[in-house]
C-alpha cells in the first residue's frame, strides 16, 4: 500500500502502512490519536523521505509545494576560503552550519548555494536592517522578484527574506513552499522561542551562517539538530591581514560628574541596603530572578530594583561620556564614524547634541533606509545607533567605531568589532570604548578582554 505524505500546519502527516524500520529510523514519528495516521515535525521530512526510500515503500509525496523558478545565476566569484566552506556544506548533504568572521562574505556563500540549488528559498535574518540588506543583495543578483516577511510586509515569493519573528509566525503556513532555507546569524535559532522556525519548515536543504556558532548555554547543540552539524569554521585570525583590516582598540575612562556620582551612589546604596536586609546575595542570574519575583508584592524589593536601574542609567548615560564622545568626534572629523549605545535615550542625546544621524528600534523603515543609504554613499560620514546595527549589517568603509556602553557579552563585542573591520584608504581601523570609571560597568568591560 502506498504511504501518503502531506504537509499540515508545520508538521508532516503520514498515512498508510508504515514499516517498523521507518518508525525506528525516524524517532520523531508519532501516531496521532487526533487525526489518525502518523505525524512528524516538518523538520524531519527529509529523514522520513529517506527512511521510506530505504525501506522500498511506495510513496505519494505531497509535502512540498514548490513554485517553478528559472535557473539562478550568480556573478560572484568565490574566494578560495568561501569555496572551501561551500564544498564542505555540499558534501554534508546540504545540511549544516558555517562559522565565518563578520565581513568575510557569508552572504556570497549562501547566494552561490542558492544558485546551485535553484529551488525556492527562504532566508531568515534577525533584524530589519539585515532584511533590507539581503533583499537588496538578492534583487541585484537574481532576476526574480524577492518576497519579504517582516518590516511591515508579508509578501511571499519563491525567494523570500524573513525576520526570525515573522518566520516564527509564518512557518506553519509556508513551511511547504521552500526547498532550501538559509539561517543568517544562525545562533539565534538556539533561542527557545525561535527553534520552531526550523522545526516547522519542511525544506530539506538547510544552511546556517554565523560568526559565533557556540553559545554559552549549549543551545548550539539544538541548532545542530535543526540545521545540521558545524561543517566548516574559519576564525578572524585565519583571515586577518589578508582579507580584513587590522584594528586597534582604545579605551577611554571617564568620571561621573559630582552630581551624577552622588545620585549613582545613593541609588546603588538603596539597592545594596535592600540586599543586606533581605539576605539575598547576587551570585547568579537566579538570585536576580528571586528579586524580580519579590518585587511583585514587596514594595521595598521593587524600589531596590528601580534604584538599581536608575544607577545603571546614570552610569550608562553620564555627561562625561557625552563629552568624551565629543572629543572622539572632533578628532575624527575626516573619518567615517559609527557610535553604538546600549539604550535609545543615549543614542538620541548624542543625535540631538551633535546632530548625528540616528537609527534605533523606533526609527521608521523609510528613514532607516535613507540614513543607511546616505551613510553608504558618503553623504553622511557619521551615524549613531542603539543595538539595531549589531549584527551583520553591511556598513561599508567605516573606520572608527565607538562603543559607548556595552552589555559585555562576548558576541556583541566581536560583532561590533566586525562593523569596523573594513579597509579604508589603507588606514588602521580603530575602536573606542568609553566607560565610566569605578562603576560596575568597568568590570563588564574588563570581563570582555
Amino acid at each position: 500500500m502506498t504511504v501518503v505524505l502531506r504537509f499540515e500546519n508545520g508538521s508532516v502527516r503520514v498515512d498508510g502502512d508504515v514499516p517498523d524500520a521507518v518508525l525506528d529510523a525516524v524517532p520523531e514519528m508519532e501516531a496521532d490519536p487526533r487525526s489518525g495516521g502518523y505525524r512528524t515535525p516538518a523538520v524531519a521530512y527529509a529523514a522520513v523521505r529517506d527512511a521510506l526510500a530505504a525501506a522500498d515503500v511506495d510513496v505519494d509525496d505531497r509535502v512540498l509545494d514548490l513554485d517553478s523558478l528559472p535557473a539562478l545565476d550568480t556573478t560572484y566569484e568565490l574566494r578560495s576560503y568561501q569555496e572551501d566552506a561551500l564544498d564542505a556544506w555540499t558534501d554534508a548533504d546540504r545540511r549544516g552550519n558555517l562559522e565565518l568572521p563578520t565581513g568575510s562574505g557569508k552572504t556570497v556563500i549562501a547566494i552561490a548555494a542558492m544558485a546551485a540549488l535553484s529551488t525556492p528559498t527562504l532566508v531568515v535574518v534577525p533584524t530589519i536592517d539585515l532584511l533590507e540588506q539581503w533583499r537588496r543583495e538578492l534583487d541585484a543578483e537574481f532576476d526574480v522578484p524577492i518576497g519579504q516577511f517582516g518590516g511591515g510586509q508579508q509578501r511571499f515569493e519563491p525567494i523570500t527574506v524573513s525576520t526570525y519573528d515573522s518566520a516564527y509566525l509564518k512557518a506553519e503556513d509556508v513551511g511547504d513552499r521552500f526547498g532550501f532555507v538559509v539561517f543568517d546569524e544562525v545562533h539565534h535559532l538556539g533561542g527557545e522561542g525561535y527553534r520552531d522556525v526550523a522545526r516547522l519548515l519542511a525544506a530539506p536543504a538547510r544552511m546556517g551562517l554565523t560568526a559565533t556558532f557556540e553559545r554559552p548555554d549549549d543551545a548550539h547543540e539544538v541548532v545542530a539538530e535543526l540545521v545540521g552539524p558545524l561543517v566548516h569554521r574559519l576564525s578572524v585570525d585565519d583571515l586577518a591581514g589578508e582579507h580584513l583590516a587590522p584594528y586597534d582598540v582604545k579605551r577611554v575612562e571617564v568620571d561621573l560628574t559630582p552630581d551624577e556620582r552622588e545620585r549613582y551612589e545613593a541609588n546603588q546604596e538603596t539597592f545594596t541596603d535592600y540586599l543586606a536586609q533581605s539576605g539575598i546575595q547576587m551570585r547568579s542570574g537566579s538570585d536576580y530572578q528571586e528579586l524580580v519575583k519579590r518585587s511583585g508584592n514587596d514594595p521595598a524589593a521593587r524600589e531596590a530594583l528601580l534604584a538599581k536601574e536608575r544607577a545603571r542609567r546614570i552610569m550608562l548615560g553620564s555627561e562625561a561620556k557625552v563629552d568624551a564622545l565629543g572629543d572622539v568626534l572632533d578628532r575624527h572629523r575626516d573619518d567615517r564614524v559609527i557610535v553604538f549605545t546600549a539604550h535609545n535615550d543615549f543614542a538620541y542625546r548624542v543625535a540631538e547634541r551633535f546632530l548625528v544621524p540616528v537609527i534605533t528600534h523606533q526609527t521608521s523603515a523609510s528613514e532607516r533606509k535613507e540614513v543607511l543609504q546616505r551613510f553608504r554613499d558618503g553623504r553622511y560620514s557619521r551615524i549613531v545607533s542603539s543595538n539595531v546595527l549589531d549584527e551583520g549589517v553591511d556598513v561599508p568603509e567605516a573606520n572608527v567605531g565607538v562603543v559607548c556602553s556595552g552589555s559585555g557579552s562576548e558576541r556583541e563585542f566581536t560583532q561590533r568589532l566586525g562593523r569596523i573591520l573594513r579597509p579604508r584608504d589603507g588606514k588602521t581601523a580603530r575602536l573606542y570604548e568609553i566607560v565610566s570609571q569605578d562603576t560596575a560597568e568597568e568590570r563588564v568591560a574588563s570581563r570582555r578582554r
Binding site: 500546519n9 487526533r34 487525526s35 508584592n297 572632533d330 538620541y348 551633535f354 546632530l355 523606533q362 553623504r379
Partner: protein, 517 residues
C-alpha cells in the same frame, strides 16, 4: 491581552490562577481612567510619569500597568511639531555634515541656522521639531474610553485571563455551546479530541462528562507554548457561552501547572451579544423542541448537549433526552438518548452525517430522517433508531421510541430489585418507595411486601389498619372518618375505607356518611 510581564497569577497549591481585579480595585481603576483623561494634550512622557506615581501608591504596580495597558487601546497619540520632524532631521544632519561635523554648541547653532534657512522656517521651530516624533514626546490627542471604571475592570479581567493562557500547552473545555467551540478551534487551526471523564479508568459510577481537549499540531512532539496566544483567543469564544469551564496545562518556566477558569470567574466578553435565545439550525428543530417541551414526560430535553467522538472528528447531536422519572432528573438511573434531526440539505451533508453516524462512539442515538432523503435504511444500519418524517417531526413518534427505552429502563430497574421488600415505615406510598429505590413505580409491581398491605397506592402495616378500624364506626360522617385516617397517614381515604369494609353514602358533592358494606 496584556504583556506577560503584567500577568498576576497565584501559584498557591500548585495552581496557576489569575488574580482578578475586584470591587476593591474600583477606585484605582477610576484613578487610572482619570489620569488618562487629565493628560489629554500632554506628552506621553508626562502621562507615563503620572501613572508611575499611581504605581507607588497601589498595592501591586502590575495592576496599575495592566489597567493602563487596557486604557491605551482607547488612547490616540500624535506628533505635534511645527515642521515635519524627519525633514528637519535630514536638513540638520546635512547641515552638520557640511560643517565637517558638529561638536561644540556654537557649531550646533550654526548647523541649525543653516537647516532653518534651507527649510525657510524659524530656527526655534527646527529645534522644537527635531525629535518631536519620539514616542515619549508624542502628545495624547484624545482618550475615548468606551467604559466606566467597572467596565475597565471587566476588560482587565478578560485580558488577564487571556494573558494567563499565553504559556498554556493544552486546554480542556466544557461548554454549553460546543458547536461554537469546535468551529473556533478549527478557525484557529488548532486540533481537538473528545475525552470522556470516565476515561481515567476509575469506575466511580459518576456520569460521563465529555470535554474537548484542544492542542496544536505540534503538541504531539513537544509541549509547545507556541499556541498560547491562540488559546487566549479561543477564550473569547469559550467565555461567550452561558455555561463553561476551561482547564489549561501551563508550562510555567518548566513547571507544569493547572489553570481553571469557568463562568464563576469574572471573565466576560464585553462586546458579546447577551446570551442568545436558543437558536436552531433549522425550523424543523425549533418546532420540535417547542412541541416536546409542552408535554409532561419522564424525559428532559437539552439542546446541543455535548460533542461526541466520531472517528477523528466530532459530532454534536441536536438534542439529548435525559431520563427524569416524574420530571425529576435526579431520580432514576442516569440515562441519555441523543437525537439528531436530519433535514434535507445537500448530498454532501447527508453523506457526512451518515459517516458520522457510522463512526460515532457507542451511545443511544435516535435520528429523525426526512423521508424525501431516502436514506432511512442507511441510517438504520448504523445502529441508530430511525424516526421518519416529512414536513415536521411528529413528537408522538419520538415519544414512542423513548417509551421503549423507558420500558427497558423500568424492566432493568425491576430486575435489579429483590423479590420482596420490607420497608421500615408503617405507612409509605409506592411513589415514595420507588423514588427511594431509584426506580419507577411500575417497577415495584412484581415485588412482594410480606409485612404490608397495599391500600390503593400506599403500603400499610396491618396493625395500623386495625388501629384505624377501631376508631371507625357505621354511620360516621365522611369528613370525620377522613380525619381519622389522615392521622394514621392514610391519605387515600376511599381506598382505605374500602379495604376496611366500608362504603360511602354520598349526600352531595363532598358530604356523606360511612356505612358498613
Amino acid at each position: 491581552m496584556l504583556t506577560k510581564d503584567l500577568l498576576r497569577v497565584s501559584r498557591r497549591g500548585g495552581g496557576y490562577q489569575p488574580v482578578f481585579a475586584d470591587r476593591e480595585d474600583r477606585p484605582l481603576a477610576a484613578r487610572v481612567v482619570g489620569t488618562f483623561q487629565g493628560h489629554v494634550d500632554e506628552t506621553r512622557g508626562d502621562l507615563d510619569g503620572a501613572l508611575r506615581e499611581l504605581e507607588g501608591d497601589a498595592e501591586d504596580f502590575k495592576l496599575v500597568r495592566g489597567l493602563a495597558k487596557c486604557c491605551e487601546h482607547a488612547a490616540r497619540f500624535e506628533t505635534r511639531a511645527p515642521v515635519t520632524p524627519s525633514s528637519v532631521r535630514r536638513a540638520a544632519f546635512v547641515a552638520a555634515e557640511e560643517l565637517d561635523g558638529v561638536v561644540t554648541p556654537a557649531e550646533r547653532e550654526r548647523a541649525l541656522d543653516r537647516a532653518a534657512d534651507s527649510l525657510a522656517v524659524a530656527v526655534d521651530d527646527v529645534d522644537a521639531s527635531l525629535f518631536a516624533d519620539l514616542e515619549e514626546r508624542q502628545v495624547l490627542a484624545s482618550f475615548d474610553a468606551p467604559w466606566d471604571p467597572d467596565g475597565l475592570l471587566a476588560q482587565y479581567n478578560l485580558s488577564l485571563a487571556q494573558t494567563a493562557l499565553f504559556d498554556a500547552v493544552e486546554v480542556r473545555v466544557r461548554s454549553s455551546d460546543p458547536k461554537a467551540l469546535v468551529s473556533a478551534v478549527k478557525r484557529l487551526r488548532l486540533m481537538y479530541e473528545i475525552r470522556k471523564s470516565d476515561d481515567d479508568g476509575v469506575a466511580d459510577g459518576s456520569p460521563t462528562v465529555r470535554e474537548v481537549v484542544v492542542t496544536g499540531p505540534d503538541a504531539l512532539f513537544s509541549r509547545s507554548r507556541r499556541y498560547g496566544t491562540r488559546f487566549a483567543r479561543l477564550l473569547r469564544t469559550v467565555a461567550k457561552a452561558s455555561e463553561w469551564r476551561l482547564e489549561a496545562t501551563v508550562d510555567d518556566h518548566g513547571t507544569e501547572r493547572e489553570l481553571v477558569l469557568s463562568d464563576d470567574d469574572p471573565v466576560r466578553v464585553p462586546d458579546a451579544e447577551p446570551v442568545a435565545e436558543v437558536s436552531f439550525d433549522s425550523g424543523v428543530e425549533a418546532d420540535f423542541a417547542a412541541r416536546f417541551e409542552g408535554l409532561d414526560l419522564d424525559w428532559v430535553l437539552s439542546r446541543e448537549p455535548e460533542p461526541l467522538a466520531t472517528g477523528y472528528r466530532v459530532m454534536i447531536p441536536d438534542f439529548a433526552f435525559d431520563y427524569a422519572p416524574g420530571g425529576d432528573s435526579d431520580a432514576g438511573p442516569d440515562f441519555r438518548v441523543f437525537f439528531e434531526v436530519m433535514g434535507f440539505w445537500t448530498p454532501e451533508y447527508v453523506e457526512k452525517k451518515l459517516s458520522q453516524l457510522a463512526d460515532v462512539e457507542d451511545v443511544e442515538m435516535v435520528v429523525a430522517v426526512d423521508e424525501s432523503l431516502g436514506v432511512g435504511e442507511d441510517v438504520a444500519s448504523t445502529d441508530a433508531a430511525v424516526v421518519p418524517y416529512s414536513g415536521s417531526v411528529r413528537v408522538k413518534d419520538v415519544v414512542d421510541v423513548l417509551r421503549e427505552y423507558e420500558r427497558d429502563l423500568v424492566a432493568d430497574a425491576a430486575a435489579a430489585l429483590p423479590g420482596s421488600l420490607t420497608p421500615a415505615d408503617d405507612v409509605v406510598t409506592l411513589a415514595a418507595l420507588a423514588e427511594r429505590k431509584g426506580v419507577s413505580e411500575d417497577a415495584l409491581a412484581d415485588v412482594a411486601f410480606p409485612e404490608h398491605e397495599l391500600v390503593g397506592r400506599t403500603l400499610v402495616r396491618p396493625a395500623v389498619l386495625d388501629d384505624a378500624a377501631s376508631e371507625l364506626a357505621d354511620g360516621m360522617a365522611y369528613g370525620d372518618a377522613e380525619a381519622v385516617l389522615d392521622e394514621y397517614g392514610l391519605d387515600d381515604a376511599s381506598a382505605a375505607l374500602s379495604t376496611l369494609g366500608y362504603r360511602v353514602e354520598w349526600t352531595g358533592l363532598s358530604g356523606g356518611t360511612v356505612r358498613e358494606k
